[in-house]
Subunit: 413 residues, 2 copies
Amino acid sequence: MNVIRKQYSISEYPTILKEFLKWLVLSLVIGALVGVASAALLASLNWSTNYREAHKVIIWLLPIGGLIVGLLYHYYGQSVAKGNNQLLEELNIPKDIIPFKMAPLIFIGTVVSHLFGASVGREGTAVQIGGAIADQFSGWLKMNKHDRRIIILMGISSGFAGLFGTPLAGAVFALEVLLIGKIKYNAILPCLLVAVVSNSVSREVAHYLHVPHTNYIVNLVPKLTLINFFWCVLAGIIFGIVSTFFSKGVHFFAQFSKHIKYPPLRPVVGGFAIAILVYFIGTKYIGLGIPTILESFTTSMNGYDFALKLILTTFCIAFGFKGGEVTPLFFIGATLGSAMAFFFPLPIGLLAGMGFVAVFSGATNTPIACTLMGIELFGMDSGVYIAIACVTAYVFSGHTGIYTSQIVGTSKT
Amino acid sequence: MNVIRKQYSISEYPTILKEFLKWLVLSLVIGALVGVASAALLASLNWSTNYREAHKVIIWLLPIGGLIVGLLYHYYGQSVAKGNNQLLEELNIPKDIIPFKMAPLIFIGTVVSHLFGASVGREGTAVQIGGAIADQFSGWLKMNKHDRRIIILMGISSGFAGLFGTPLAGAVFALEVLLIGKIKYNAILPCLLVAVVSNSVSREVAHYLHVPHTNYIVNLVPKLTLINFFWCVLAGIIFGIVSTFFSKGVHFFAQFSKHIKYPPLRPVVGGFAIAILVYFIGTKYIGLGIPTILESFTTSMNGYDFALKLILTTFCIAFGFKGGEVTPLFFIGATLGSAMAFFFPLPIGLLAGMGFVAVFSGATNTPIACTLMGIELFGMDSGVYIAIACVTAYVFSGHTGIYTSQIVGTSKT
C-alpha cells in the first residue's frame, strides 16, 4: 500500500483490505490499552489532586516531590527524559524503539508532581504512555519504518483522545503536531480508529472509576455580525501572542535552571520556590486548576490570573516537573478570555472557550485539531468563533512552540 | 512573511500585522462579493427547479438546453471550459489570470442545465464564480505567484462556504482539494476568514430572497458500541467503493461522448437520451434532487436509487452539462446510506448523513473538509460516525477522484 497509484483496480482490493484489517486490529488493541491507561491516569490525578486539596500542608514537601521525580529520571529515565520531543524526534528520524519504561516513569512523575502541587498538565503523560505502549508493537511485529511511524502516531492520537475525551482532535493532533504548517494523511485512518476506540474505552473505565471527563459549557453564542467578527479576530491575535510568551517562558526558565548542574536538584530548588510562592498567593495556580477553568466560563477572571499561571507553569516545566503543558494552556487561555469579557462585547463563556483552545493552538501549532477539540467540547454552535480564534492564534504565534523538536514544514503565511 | 523563522521577534510584528490586514480587507471584499453571488445562484437554481417541476414538459427541450450550453462554451468559453480543473491547474502551475467570464458563463450554463432537467450539481459553479471573482484582484493588485495562489484558494473557499452554508468545510476544502493526502497551511487564515464572510453574507441575502439554505436533520445517534463501530467502518468502505464508480463513470461516459466530434452537439445528444429516460423513470433523478435527499433521512430508499443517480449524473457531466458533481454525490450517498438501513442496525438518518458526506469525501479526497461539513450540517452528536465514514471512504476510494487535475501528494496508507 506504499505505492502511489492513480486508481485501485479490483485486483488490488484484497491487499488493501489485508492492510486495512491489520490497522483495524491494532487500533482495537492499542486503543483498548491506552484507553484503560488514560482512565487510570485520570483517576490517579483525581486522587492526588483531592488529597492535596484536603492536606494543603503537603505543598511544603514539593521539594521532596521534586527530588523523587529528579532522581527517578536521573537514575532510571535518562533514555526517556526528552518526553514528547523524543516521540517527535523518532517520527522525524527513526532510531530506536521507545523504551516501555517511558510509560510508568511519566505516570509516576506526573502523579507525584500533582500530589505535591506543581503547576503542570497531563497530556504529555497521556501522549508518552500512548507512544510507549504503541511502539512496543512495532518491535514485536518487526515493523518497517513506515509502519512504525504510523504506530507511534497512533500512540499519540490514542493518548490524547483517551485523556481529553476528544477523538477527532486526538487523531488530527497526531497528524498536525509533527510538522508546522503541513499535514500528511497516510496515517489518518489508523489514527482516527485508535482515537475512537481509546476514547470509548477510557470513558467506560473512567465512568466505572467515578472520574468522568469534565464538561465545559458555552451556552450563549451570539450571531457573527461584522463587529463580532472583528472582536473575534482581535481575540485570536491576543491569544496567539500570549501563547508565544508561554514558549518563551519555558525556554527562559530552562536556561535559568541549567545553572544547577546536578539535574535531580533542579526540581528540589524549583519546588522550594513554588512552595514559598504558594504560601503568599494561595493554591489557585497549582495543579491542573480545573475548578478555575470551569469558573472562567461563568465568572470574569482577574487580568493577572493567566499571567501568574503562565509563569508558574513554565517555571515548573523548566525545573523538571512532569505532566505536560496543555491543561495549564487551557487555564491560561480560559482565564485570559474570561478577563477579556471586561472589554470585549462577547459572552464570557464564549471568550473563555475560545481562549481555552486558541492559546493551545498557538503554542502547539495545531489549529485544526484545536478547532475540532473546541467543537467536541463546546458544540458546533461556537464552531466559527472557535475556528477563527484558533487559526488566528496559530498565525500570530510565530514558527515556534512548546515542542522544540517540531519541524517547520511550511511558512504560516 | 514568506520567510520561515523560528520565532517572530517584536520588530517583525508590524510587517506581520500589515500582511494580515491586507488579507483581512481582501477577505471582507471577496467574501461579500462571492457571498452575494452564491445567494444569487441559490435563488436562480431555486427558480429554475420550481419552474421545471411546474412545467415538466420542458424536459423534452433538454436537447435545446444542451445546445445553448454547448454553443455558449464553444464560441465564448473555450478558455474557461475546464472549470474546476482549470483552477487546480492554475494553483499547481500558475500561468494566466482566470478570465472573469468564467463566472457568468458557468452561472448561465448551470441555470440552463437545471431549468431543462439535467442531473448536475452546483458547487462547481460556486467554486468557479468564487475563483474567477477572486483572481481578478490578483491582476488589479499585481500580486506575485505566492499571493495569487492564496487568492484563488480564497475564491474556492468562499464559493463553497457561501453555497452550502458551511464555512469551516469551505476553508478546509480549498486547502485539501489541491493535493491528495497533504495539506499546506500557508493560506489557512485568509481561506477561513473569507469563508466566514461569504457564508454570513450569503445567508443574509438568501434569507432576503426567501431561499434559505437546506437544513438536514440527524436526530438519532446511538452510542458508539463495538458493534456500531464495525458497522460504521463497513459503511465507510462501501461509500468509498461507490465513490470510485462515480469517478469511473465520468471517465467512461467522457470517452463515449468524444465520438461526437463537434462538442456543442454532445449535450444535445445527451439531453435527448436523458429526456427519453426521464419519460420512462420519472423526474426523481434529475436536477439537484434535494427533496429526495431530505426524504432519505427519514424514509428507506430503494437499493437502486443511488445507482440510477450515479449513472444519470456521470452521463450528464460527461456530455457537457454544467454545475458540478457534489449535490448529486450527496444524493447518491444519502440514498445509499438510507437503503443500507435495511441491513445495517444504525438509524436511517445517521446512515443517510454518513453517506451524504462520505461519498463526497471518497470522490474528492477531502476527508477533513467532509467531516467538518457533516458536523456543520448535522451537529457534533454524529461527529464520530461522520469522521469514520469520511476517512474510511477516503482510503477506499483509491488515488483518483472527480478532479483529474488533483495531484497525489502522499499515499493514502
